[in-house]
Symmetry: C2
Subunit: 183 residues, 2 copies
């Protein structure tokens, strides 16, 4: 038997807006006929990039993430501007954050980081053929850029030094792609 | 030079509470001396389980996720109840959602699904030595339980049928662990 799992919107209310986050609260009809409430973040979507240098090293960032009061090792990533093509977002964020431009871009897929309470989607790109461009980082964006080999990266996933789910997921997709398509 | 990336709280305000989500807005002092604003979700933390049957198949769920209006293939997971040990959360959620109990539990690590706007941490467990227990699903929790081999699962990650980042990240950790520690 194929279950109908769909929940239908009865009404929707905006709880937070105007700042960084938009938060909604919807009354919903469940498949069993009961009603319930769903609260979630409206997100414009984002792009994460796996930038691989000619020697196989990956370009990474260390960034302080306020909600967890912790510095994270992450792949370069950023939000899609209104109306922006996702490839352009990836190219813009890679240049802004790391100073690199890439000749080759391969779309590896898309991931959903937080399906319980956000509609965010993150598009995943592999970028290679890297060269230094003109870096233009936002003056309020503080981060350190550094490089690790894929082996070192995977060791940091195993050891728990890398815990950011978009970074782990994108590395997984990149590692599987590169096994079948050596750069 | 080691950069100080830390952002300091100046003041904090609760924007949403009382329902499913708690959302805060903080005024913060940036490392460069400027001030800015950070909005984020306060989350109790969660546990995701990779349940592996004796024949190597993994127990999965299909669940409708309202923020994306889409059915997702996911590993069993759930929120930590107040004061609950994370292993107990994993055991409770596995039983409630799939009807399985596990003899062996291995902590694989923890991931952060949404470091930009949530303090959520998800603890990752591998569970094996599975047997059928007494399922007690919440009547409002609609889901389908099914099984896939690790090969089938990885093929669905590659093809984009599995996009949930906690599921992809936990599979990655489990696959790497099981390579070195055959069950």
């Amino acid at each position: 038997m194929l279950l109908d799992l769909t929940e239908h919107c009865i009404s929707s209310e905006t709880m937070v807006s105007g700042g960084m986050l938009t938060v909604k609260r919807d009354q919903v009809l469940l498949p069993n006929g009961n009603t319930s409430q769903r609260e979630y973040v409206i997100h414009p979507g984002a792009v994460v990039v796996v930038p691989v240098l000619e020697d196989g090293h990956v370009v990474l960032e260390k960034q302080f993430r306020y909600p967890l009061h912790q510095v994270f090792i992450e792949l370069p990533a950023g939000k899609i501007d209104a109306g922006e093509d996702v490839l352009i977002t990836g190219q813009r964020e890679l240049l802004e954050e790391t100073g690199y431009q890439a000749q080759q871009w391969v779309k590896l897929g898309a991931i959903h980081p937080c399906i319980g309470y956000s509609n965010e989607v993150i598009h995943v790109y592999l970028a290679y053929g890297l060269s230094k461009g003109l870096q233009q980082r936002d003056e309020d964006e503080a981060m350190e850029v550094f490089m690790l080999s894929m082996q070192e990266l995977l060791a940091k996933v195993d050891s728990g030094e890398i815990t950011d789910a978009k970074t782990i997921s994108a590395l997984f997709l990149a590692e599987r792609y590169m096994k079948n398509h050596p750069l």
